[in-house]
């Protein structure tokens, strides 16, 4: 057995400090490892070939599913979270051919961002404020339109300019990868041949407007490259 070596008070202090430091550094390694993991995963999603196949999907069902997923995800993450959800679904939106997983990803992204913006405004404005998010679909004939609107903090002009850039984020370090909107843009525009636009007014609302063509536009088989 090893005998305990007596240490002078000064040395003891140093050793205690160093072991404490090592422990906390290990925690940091784990924590930042996870963060790096999430960034790499998102980058891979950015760069990989389109997954799955284009197949017919009911737009209203897809939006409904995304709303529910995002809502329950947000509730699970933060127990105090709540928001009024509104749906304005056009029955004529019908079925279109798309990559359902990817479009769901885009919708989840936009809805989750909307939740974040309303929660932030609520934190600033206090109890009088009622968070609200609406999802609307509309038949355009040659395509469909999806609008995701929240009454959160809105987007200032300088941010609006850069928000589709990869790695651009306004969230505190560690909370956002800055890839959500750039990826959403690629999925809608490059993969589906659609458009994504935003209308916003600081502290009033933000509305993302996605349009998707009904047939054939955009790459047929491949995905984002």
């Amino acid at each position: 057995m090893l005998k305990k070596a007596p240490l002078e008070a000064m040395t003891r202090g140093d050793v205690d400090e160093l072991t404490h430091m090592l422990k906390s550094n290990l925690d940091k390694v784990v924590q930042h490892g996870k963060r790096a993991d999430s960034i790499v995963k998102n980058m891979l999603l950015h760069s990989r070939e389109g997954s799955g196949e284009r197949r017919p999907a009911d737009i209203n069902a897809l939006v409904e599913e995304s709303l529910n997923l995002a809502y329950h995800g947000a509730r699970a993450e933060k127990s105090g979270f709540n928001i009024t959800l509104r749906r304005e679904f056009d029955p004529d939106a019908g079925v279109i051919e798309l990559f359902p997983q990817e479009i769901t990803r885009v919708l989840l992204n936009l809805i989750t961002n909307g939740f974040y913006a309303t929660a932030k405004r609520k934190a600033e404005a206090g109890d009088g404020f009622e968070p609200m998010l609406s999802a609307a679909t509309r038949d355009l004939g040659h395509g469909i339109e999806i609008r995701i609107r929240d009454n959160g903090t809105g987007i200032p002009p300088d941010v609006k300019e850069k928000m589709f850039n990869p790695f651009f984020t306004t969230k505190p370090a560690g909370e956002g990868t800055g890839l959500g909107l750039s990826m959403s843009h690629d999925i809608v525009v490059k993969q589906h041949g659609g458009t994504i636009a935003v209308e916003t007014e600081p502290n009033v609302f933000t509305e993302f407007i996605i349009t998707l063509p009904r047939a054939g536009a955009g790459p047929q088989t491949g995905g984002r490259s």
Binding site: N25, K171, A173, G174
Partner: protein, 129 residues
């Protein structure tokens, strides 16, 4: 007189990292380190409080809101006596050129080479000694 160095980075763990790396210097009182989590906070500290003990600013570039490059000319105008060294993950020529053009005294890349940073700090301490 206890000179101090202002470190600007939106990543809160930077403070812990720097305090570890320079713990001996900090303990012996060679210099003090202050930390700001945003460019406006740094400007507030450096510009509004004309504290002659501030001898060096180390700043990140990519920060939400005001970036380090946006801050640079403002802090240089307010405190021409204080050199600013940028510390960034983006060490490309263009970023370097823009940083120098806007008045940076140098640019170090992340991951930070602490022996290099230590030399920069030592040089600056000698200058003001």
């Amino acid at each position: 007189m206890n000179v101090y160095i202002l470190v600007v980075d939106d990543e809160p763990d930077v403070e812990e990292l720097f305090r570890q790396q320079f713990r001996r210097d900090l303990r012996s009182g060679r210099f003090v380190m202050e930390f700001a989590l945003s460019a406006p906070e740094a400007l507030q500290r450096a510009a509004s409080i004309a504290d002659a003990r501030l001898i060096l600013i180390l700043s990140d570039i990519n920060m939400p809101g005001m970036t380090g490059l946006d801050m640079l000319p403002q802090v240089r105008a307010a405190r021409p006596d204080v050199p600013v060294i940028m510390i960034t993950a983006y060490g490309d020529g263009e970023t370097r050129r823009r940083a120098i053009e806007r008045g940076a005294a140098g640019l170090l890349t992340k991951p930070i080479d602490f022996s290099l940073l230590r030399r920069e700090i030592d040089n600056r301490l000698e200058e003001v000694a």
